[in-house]
Each structure stands twice: as C-alpha cells, then as structure tokens.
C-alpha cells in the first residue's frame, strides 16, 4: 500500500493537538522551551490510556500467566491472551501467529537462531526445509538497521551461508532488478525493512515477497517503522515473518512481537528454552508446545503485552489511515522546509512521494552532534548519529546525520520550530 493512493484525510492540525494532549510527557518544558518531540522513530511517547492500563494491571491483576489456578492468575492470563488477539488483529493475522518478544531485535534473533538450530538438525523432519548449508544465501538490503543485519551476519557465520545485500540507489530506493539478480534458488531467506528509519523510503514489499517465494525463499519483514505508522495487513502482504517493537508504537519498552505463518512457527525449533514452553520434560529430553508458547520461555512480559494492546487500541481508534496520512502531511512540510535551507543535504528521496514522515539530513560544515545540541537548547528532541544504520550512512558518504521523525501527536508548530532551528545553526557555528 502506498500513501499516495489513500483517500485524503480529514485529520488536521487541531486533531493532532487533541491527540497531543493525551501524552503527559509532551506537556513539559525542556531548557525553557515547550518540548518539541521529533524522535519517535527512536521511541514514541506514551498516551495516558496506555500508562493507565499498565498501572491497572499491576494494581488489580498482577499474577503469573498460564500457571496457577487462583483468580488473579486467571484474570492475568485472560488479559494477556486478549492482548495477543488485539495485536494480531491490528496487523491482520491470527492469534497463534503472534509471539511476544522483548523487542524487534529479539524477534529477529529468534528467527535467526531458530534457523540456526534447524541447520544443526534440531526440530526433526518438520524443520528439514528450514536448514541452511554452506550453499545457502541470505539476502538483506544495504539500507538495513543493524538489528536486521548483525543477526544475519552471525547466522551466515554459524552455517557457512553467504550473506548478500541488495544495493541502494542514490535516492535510497532499491531496484527490483537488483533484487531479481540477488535472490536465487540458493536464497533461504530475504530480510528487508518495510520503511527505512533513515531515508523514509517505503520498500515494495509485495514485489519482494513475490520474488522471494518464486525462488522458494522465506521473507522476513522488519515492520518497526511501518506497524506504528500505517495500516498493516501481514496476511495480505503474504510475508513469512514480520517483527515490530512496542515502544515505537506508544507502548512501553520491553515488548515486541514476531509474526510467523502458523506452519512455519510450528516447524521452527525454539530459540530460548526453559519453563512454560514445554509439554513433557524428563531429565534427558523435552517436548515443546506449539507456537506461540514454544517461543515464550520463562515468565513473560505481561503488563507490557497488555499495554501494547492498549496502544494498538488507541491507534485503531484514531484510524491508521488517518495516522499515515497526517504523518505524510507533516513529512511533506518537513522535507519542503529543510530543502530550502542552505547546506542541507537530505538523505533519501528529495520528494515526498513514497516517503514516510521522517527526514534525515546532513548539514554542511556542522556535525550532527552539534546540530542536536543546538536543537536541544531550544527544547527540540531529534536523533543524531548513525541511527543504527552505519552501512546506509556509508552509502551516502557520511558518518552521522540528524533525523526528525514525526508521529500522530506532532503538529505543524513542531515541524516549523524544527525547521526554524535548523535554519539558524550554520550561522551559530560560524560556517556561513
């Protein structure tokens, strides 16, 4: 789904201000200025509704789930599994296809180590199809966040497989011709981000899925920057795995999710093992529960899962089409404002089409850290550094950049304050 073919939203700046009022952390002064929070790509702020749900859980329900027979344990288990249903529905999949993890990074590692364990012969005949050998290839893109790169480097090192990267074009997009060239019958899995956290590029996932499946390869989607910001239907996209993090979508830290097609999850050997994921245990060996429990060893992140469901309820009540369209509007204004400033070099597409509501840029003559310091002095929170995407920055010939990333609670005033701030930076540092 591209943003361009969505209907125009009626959601406007006044609606954003109303949403903003639901977020206590946004209502404060930083360094003598009203906080302008434009770092939601790193982590989002949390609405009162989410904070209240987590508090209520601890005040009224707190108990271990899937064990114990007392009333609180039953209530906690019910809330926990209801949360799974809510989140599964939010991304268009079935309940037992959602595995809770600590974050998206753990979810990717779960898949990588599951495949690794299959390659070692674990998981029995069901896992045969998931084995990697020295002839196998893993395909990623040059634009991946470290979390969708390093686990695959490690999997390649453990199995002898070869890691290949689809190069990026100068504007940060990837060419399907390159994908066609790199994805072959040797490819075991393609791991790709839905939306780049640096360039804002929305990748052509449906086309990549088609290419991967034509070669019998799996496709894992890093949905960290899409699940919080746009309507997502993972069944319709036909991906095999998808991961996202709660803290980037209005929920607390410590909770993320892995989506996997049911048959795949039930064939994948476990990653973390221990209590709660077993059937019969003897001193010699153990049997494992079906997914999702087989991947949820040990006491789980109960309050966080419930709070994540509250966050998706909150987003759902606004409507993800409106969220996406509003952020696109903000991103358009941000991009236009920044492109008018001397010395700004925007990383990624120079036009708003096919772009999410974030912009990363280099400011000629001023290091990103100094940019961030200047903005912080005005109460503006933006991300500076390599945004956990060093190869991508290398591709653009910079070591660090400054990024403003919007969310549904941001307003025109936020974007304008940011652009005004950036406009003043080079003269402060004496480079013009």
């Amino acid at each position: 789904m591209t943003l361009a073919d969505q209907p125009r939203t009626t959601f406007g700046n006044d609606d954003a201000k109303r949403v903003r009022a639901d977020f206590p952390a946004l209502d404060q002064e930083v360094n003598g200025h009203a906080l302008v929070y434009l770092d939601s790509g790193a982590t989002s702020q949390k609405p009162r509704a989410v904070l209240d749900v987590e508090r209520h859980y601890y005040e009224r329900q707190n108990a271990a789930v899937h064990r114990g027979a007392h009333t609180l344990a039953a209530l906690a288990t019910e809330s926990y599994e209801q949360a799974r249903h809510t989140v599964a529905t939010f991304v268009g999949v079935d309940d037992d296809e959602i595995v809770w993890t600590s974050n998206a990074t753990e979810a990717i590692n779960l898949v990588a180590y599951g495949l690794s364990n299959a390659s070692l012969g674990r998981g029995g005949p069901e896992a045969d199809a998931l084995r990697l050998t020295a002839d196998s290839e893993i395909v990623i893109t040059e634009g991946e966040h470290h979390s969708n790169l390093v686990p695959w480097q490690e999997l390649a090192a453990r199995t002898g497989a070869t890691l290949r990267a689809i190069p990026l074009q100068d504007d940060g997009t990837l060419s399907l011709d390159d994908a066609e060239r790199l994805v072959t019958d040797r490819t075991a899995i393609v791991a790709v981000t839905h939306v780049s956290n640096v360039t804002g590029v929305i990748n052509p996932i449906a086309e990549l899925v088609e290419i991967a499946h034509r070669h019998g390869a799996l496709l894992l989607l890093d949905a960290c920057q899409s699940a919080p910001h746009m309507p997502l239907d993972l069944h319709a996209l036909d991906v095999d795995f998808a991961v996202f993090s709660g803290h980037k979508m209005l929920a607390p830290t410590g909770i993320g999710a892995l989506y996997g097609r049911r048959a795949l999850l039930n064939a994948l050997p476990p990653f973390l093992t221990g209590g709660s994921m077993i059937t019969t245990v003897t001193l010699e060996e153990s049997g494992y529960l079906p997914a999702p429990q087989r991947f949820e060893a040990g006491t789980q992140r109960i309050s966080q899962a419930i709070a994540l469901a509250a966050a998706t309820d909150y987003l759902g009540a606004i409507g993800m089409h409106d969220v996406a369209a509003w952020e696109h509007t903000l991103g358009e204004r941000l991009l236009a404002g920044l492109l008018e400033i001397d010395g700004v070099r925007v990383l990624g597409p120079q036009t708003p089409e096919g772009r999410a509501g974030l912009v990363a840029f280099d400011l000629d003559g001023v290091h990103a850290h100094d940019v961030g310091q200047f903005l912080d002095d005005r109460g503006i929170a933006a991300r500076v550094g390599h945004h956990c995407a060093q190869p991508l920055h290398r591709r653009f010939g910079v070591t660090a950049s400054t990024r403003a990333s919007t969310y549904v609670y941001n307003t025109f005033e936020d974007v304008d304050a940011f652009v005004d701030g950036v406009r003043d930076i080079r003269s402060f540092f004496g480079v013009v």
Binding site: G32, A368, H369, D370, Q373, F374, D377, T399, F428
Partner: protein
Amino acid sequence: MASPELAGLYQQVILDHSKLRKGSGLVDGGVAESHQLNPTCGDEITLRLHLVEGSGSGLGSDSGNAGTAGDGTHGSASEPIIERLSWDGQGCSISMASASLLSELAPGLTPTELTERIALFREMMRSRGAGVEDDEPLGDAAVLESVSKYIARVKCAMLAWVAAEDTVQQVTAGRA
C-alpha cells in the same frame, strides 16, 4: 538565538579549534598509535605519539610544577620528551576542538607529565560543571570544562585524550 548555556558550551576558542584542528594529519614515524571510536555517534580518531630524547633542555620549558622536577638525577636515561601528537579524525566540534587543544598542550611534556594532565582533564570532565581546583596545567584545554555539564558530550571531549593515554601506556609497557 542561543541560550547563555549553549554559548558557554560553544565558546569561541572551542569553535576556533574545531576548525583549526592543530595536529591534524598523521605524520610518519611516532612511537605508538591508538585508534579510538565512539560507537554511539561514529566519532573516531587515530593518534600518534612522537617522542624525542630528553636532553634536559626539552622543547618547551613550561612543564612547570607538574611533578617530575627534582627527579632529574634519577635513572640511567632521562625520560624522552613529546615532540608532537599527530592525528587523523572526524567528529563533532567538541571532539575535534579537544584533539586540537590536546595537540597544543602536549609538545614539550614528558609522557609522565602528559599522563598527569590526562588524569586532571578526566577529573575535570567528570566534574559535572564544578571544574577542578587548579586547571592551569591544562592550558587552553581548560576551556573544555564547559562540556562537563553536558554528560552526553563528555565522551566527545575525552576521545583524543583516551587515545593519547593509550599511546603513552603502550610506550611505558614497552619499556617496562
């Protein structure tokens, strides 16, 4: 407009040194080299230590009260003297200015004296704006005290000094 705090952090001498980059450009030779990286932001530096034999006169006579005075008769050979630091690096204005100020400070000192000044600089950077009792031995680098209020930036200021400390330790270990 920038606040007085920000103007205090980015004092003119810091901005000047961030552009001057004294010592920038690796020079052939040197007795030790260290590469330091700040992985959170990508700032990095490769720094070389260049020594000359200590002749008593030294290259600079301003090593002052730094503590080795009076040890002159000790040992078989007098300690060598730092001819210069040379470095290659990239990073924010604080890290580059700090490398430049260090490169201005080091020539003429003995490795022992530099080690003492690095310790003093570290103490200053950890002071959270309180400073140190006597920052005289740090010369112009004392201006970086303003950075100590910004704990996220202390690592930027320390980068070159950590590299220099590493080179001195390599030399000391080699001689031990």
